[in-house]
């Protein structure tokens, strides 16, 4: 059976959900061999085994944290060479985080392969994996393949369900030697993002977003209250972020996060093309806007034309009551 190399996104050994989704897709193509790097790499093995990894290659070294991107490319290349020596490596799958995309792209250059980024689905094809992508602000769906080398494909969060599929998950240490470029860009300090206790924006099943209509940083409490009643993540439009009302890390759209939750609730957001680009693939879309002509209403499954300061608190109360 073909082997599929899967790059693991984890925080100190805790595997992030998009990687588990990636294992679901990898199993459609072959046997997943996971590669986990950095602090806590070996701790990822139980979760990866539970979701189908037949093998987990691990490496840790100070370089992974002290220098940008390249040490991880060196390690992924070492994994690629180790697995492809067996002759049946069919693809390299990587989660679509900003960093992992860069790692994937550089690996592709080194191994002479093409790269496809931000796939939303993958299936086996006669000429290798076929990737579905959503392009032009989600107005088109394309199907593409890598036509040169071992396909390297990055996949967006929420592209597949997480499925249990216990496999051996045998841990093997990966030996990595760093090249001259590995220490080119030094990370001189790192400030971890403070946890809000809410779900990760890109991984959340429900996202509640506010835009310019929220009209002030303090008013975002209304959006947060609705989010908390639903167990949702909080998003914001660029107008709200640029005004300084909410952190850029929560921006949804072309230059922010791209989200694809089960439910997206937009309040006080007009629905500009750049905002749509980051949320249009959401399964169910709901909007609250006082302007009946706002383009966001073209996308909605359910829309309320009204003042968000009336509608949102009422909705929050009703959700709380129903959830008891």
């Amino acid at each position: 059976m073909a082997e599929i190399l899967v790059y693991v996104d984890h925080v100190d050994g805790a595997v992030r959900k998009p990687t588990l989704e990636l294992l679901t897709l990898a199993r459609r193509l072959g046997d997943p061999v996971a590669v986990a790097l950095g602090n806590g790499a070996a701790d990822t093995a139980p979760a990866l085994a539970e979701h189908g990894a037949v093998k987990v290659l691990t490496a840790d070294a100070p370089e992974f944290a002290e220098y940008l991107v390249v040490p991880k490319v060196d390690a992924l290349q070492a994994a690629y060479e180790a697995v492809s020596a067996g002759g049946s490596l069919a693809a390299v799958l990587v989660p679509s985080s900003a960093e992992a995309k860069e790692i994937a792209a550089r690996l592709a250059v080194r191994i002479g392969s093409g790269v496809i980024t931000d796939a939303v689905d993958l299936e086996a094809g006669d000429e290798g994996p076929v990737a579905t992508q959503s392009v032009f602000a989600a107005s088109f769906t394309t199907k593409s393949r890598v036509s040169k080398g071992t396909p390297v494909i990055t996949v967006k969060p929420n592209s597949a369900p997480v499925e249990a599929a216990p496999a051996a998950g045998t841990v093997e240490a990966l030996s990595v030697s760093f090249g001259a470029l590995a220490t080119g860009t030094k990370v001189t300090s790192r400030t971890p993002r403070e946890s809000t206790g809410r779900p990760e924006l890109t991984e959340a099943a429900i996202v509640v977003s506010g835009g310019r209509g929220v009209n002030g940083a303090e008013n975002f409490a209304i959006i947060e209250a609705l989010a908390d009643s639903l167990g949702a993540a909080v998003g914001a439009s660029r107008a709200a972020v640029d005004a300084g009302w909410y952190p850029h890390a929560n921006q949804v759209g072309q230059t922010g996060k791209s989200v694809s939750p089960q439910l997206y609730i937009a309040s006080g957001i007009s629905g500009a093309i750049q905002h749509r680009a980051g949320m249009q693939t959401s399964k169910t879309i709901v909007a609250i806007n006082k302007d009946a002509e706002a383009p966001i209403f073209e996308l909605v499954d359910y829309g309320v034309v009204g003042d968000l300061f009336e509608v949102v608190p009422q909705l929050t109360e009703e959700v709380k009551t129903r959830k008891g």
């Binding site: 750049q274 359910y302 129903r322």
Partner: protein, 261 residues
Amino acid sequence: MSLRIVVCVKYVPDATGDRHFADDLTVDRDDVDGLLSELDEYAVEQALQIAEEADDAEVTVLTVGPEDAKDALRKALSMGADKAVHVEDDDLHGTDVMGTSLVLAKAIEKTGYDVVIAGMASTDGVMGVLPAILAERLGVPQVTLLSEVSIEDGVVKGRRDGDAASEQLEAALPAVVSVTDQSGEARYPSFKGIMAAKKKPVESLDLSDLDLEAEEVGLEGAWTAVDSATERPARTAGTIVKDEGEGGKQLAEFLASQKFI
């Protein structure tokens, strides 16, 4: 010694236009107005600011694209860049990111550089990986996705706001930098700038000038193949209600009917 800055800019179809695909499944560039990718304006802006800080610097804007891509170069020149390089060749039609990066790397080497500055992503392809690929191809440090950047004494420093953390980065030149739309608003070209741009040199290069063969680029040479592109069906019209005092409750009823609560 002069600081040589090369800015990679892309000419893209206007995102607010009706973008679609041509028959050969490449991006249709004829039916929608093109412009300098808005995200690359941030790269031009940072290049100009760095040049203003440096004692002696030269900003060259570089694009790989069709004839019309000159418009993107003109815009960057009118913002204040010193000169432009346009790589144009019929054989480039359909080139993917691997090919584009190959061409850009050759053109950058030919032009000479201390720092390359790119945008965070193109607004049509939105891959956001080309700068990392360029660093790999040029064999220099990658200092990408910066929301703050400065260059002093041959060292580039910047802040990268990642998913999990905000990082301060540092690398010695030569290097490849990319900047995000958080790096600072781009300036508008002044009337004087627009007039001056008309006299600034635009060098045209084709594949042979870069010692590249047609087979290495273009649709045939691409590392990826698009098999189909279908327009997403319009979302079925949803229910829209006007709030008459019960809007929140009606919405809750809808969410309950969809099993969200």
